[in-house]
Amino acid sequence: MNIESAQYHEDLGDRNIKAVIDGITYYVPISEDNRHYAAILEWAEEDGNEIQAAE
């Protein structure tokens, strides 16, 4: 999967990650069992990639 961007998303006491993957916006839970979250963590370890802070 091609992760283009990732940003923490906070709403009414909840927090997940709003990520654009293969051109589609996904709401990814912060959960180790989730394959998208695992991929985002891997992506964030690469130089130049960062999960942006929530707005």
Binding site: M1, N2, H9, D11, L12, D14, N16, D22, I24, T25, Y26, Y27, V28, P29, S31, D33, N34, R35, H36, Y37
Partner: protein
């Protein structure tokens, strides 16, 4: 006359249910669609089936009605850009990944480990040697070769794996086993002789045909079954409803049906923020990723006497049971009661291009 005892030896094993560990082995369930142009690495296609690859070619995947007798669908792999000279590390694999807690009865990693057998129907113009490989969550694997003998002819293949007594597998909701149908492999994987024991092998798929070597190549597969033991029983034909529910543990897509599809009820938090609950049809394997297709005014939140439309949705509070849904990108529409905090609402999918996808795949 009352039956006092059932003689198991007299029962036909083909009557036993739930013996097929493959989900959607008959390729009938296609929630994501029926045609996939050059799907990306690890992208899911027909339900529970994905591809993983590294090469310079391209393949399309689709749900086909070309089948052997007794089946309605197959999965078709069609080469659209050839790669006739694979580099050493390149490969192409069709795969199904199996949840670990469905595999405890294999007793892998113990002296009581069981043999398993995979059977399937396959048809291709590209004859030759192919390999199916089982890999544990700890990356120990063992492949079994088979031959497509006759071009464009359905052939039924049966392959049995020796018991894996050495390596345990994860027995949770995480990945337990990968099942790989190799279609191409560079020299890193094809050293000789082929491995015959469970290990982190190098000679994994010796003799593997390069299915990618021509845009004329196509391959169909269906009737895939993985079961305990050294014998392939008849394919376990589950009902479509049963198969769909099994698929929905991993992926669920909600679309508009007829005029609209009701998603759930809720409340306006303020004049621009409606919140509703969306409960899934089937409890998910893990907390899922959620997305909505962008569709102009395809999502309708109701207010007293009228409604407001959104073109995309915002999701939060995901659990394995449900997700909280709001609008994303603003609302359009007027009339009726102006929405305000504490007003009730409900959400319907009203656009033909609108959908909610809930993804808990492995």
């Amino acid at each position: 006359m009352a039956v006092s005892r059932i003689n198991e030896a007299g029962l036909n094993v083909n009557q036993y249910g739930n013996r097929n560990l493959i989900i959607n082995g008959a390729m009938q369930v296609a929630q994501r669609g029926t045609s996939f142009t050059n799907p990306s690495v690890s992208a899911y296609t027909l339900d529970r089936w994905s591809t993983t690859y590294s090469h310079d070619g391209a393949v399309d995947i689709s749900q086909s009605t070309t089948t052997p007798a007794g089946f309605k669908n197959s999965l078709k792999i069609d080469v659209t850009t050839a790669d006739s000279s694979l580099s050493s590390s390149q490969y192409h694999i069709l795969q199904q990944v199996i949840e670990g807690q469905n595999l405890s009865h294999l007793n892998y990693g113990s002296s009581d480990a069981k043999e398993v057998t995979i059977s399937f129907w396959v048809r291709s113009n590209k004859t030759g040697t192919y390999c199916v490989e089982i890999q544990t969550s700890g990356s120990q694997e063992l492949a079994r070769p088979y031959t497509i003998n006759t071009a464009n002819t359905w052939e039924h293949k049966t392959l049995t794996w020796i018991a894996n007594t050495d390596f345990t597998i994860t027995e949770t909701n995480a990945i337990g086993l990968y099942i790989y149908w190799w279609l191409a492999a560079g020299s890193d994987y094809t050293g000789s002789p082929i491995a015959t024991t469970w290990a982190s092998n190098t000679n994994r798929v010796t003799g593997q045909t390069n299915f990618l070597d021509s845009t004329s190549n196509e391959l169909y597969i269906t009737g895939v079954q993985l079961e305990v033991g050294d014998t392939a029983t008849d394919f376990e034909h589950r009902t479509f409803a049963d198969e769909l529910d099994k698929c929905k543990r991993y992926f669920e897509k909600i679309t508009k049906e007829t005029n609209s599809t009701f998603i759930g009820g809720g409340m306006w938090y303020n004049s621009t923020s409606p919140y509703v609950g969306c409960k899934y049809k089937v409890t998910k394997r893990a907390v899922p990723t959620v997305t909505s297709a962008t569709d102009s005014n395809g999502y309708t939140f109701f207010v007293g006497g009228s409604s407001r439309a959104a073109s995309a949705l915002d999701f939060s509070r995901q659990t394995t049971y449900s997700v909280r849904v709001s609008q994303s990108g603003g609302l359009s529409g007027s009339g009726g009661t102006n929405p305000q905090a504490t007003h009730a609402t409900w959400l319907e999918i009203t656009g033909s291009g609108a959908s909610i996808e809930i993804d808990a795949e492995l």
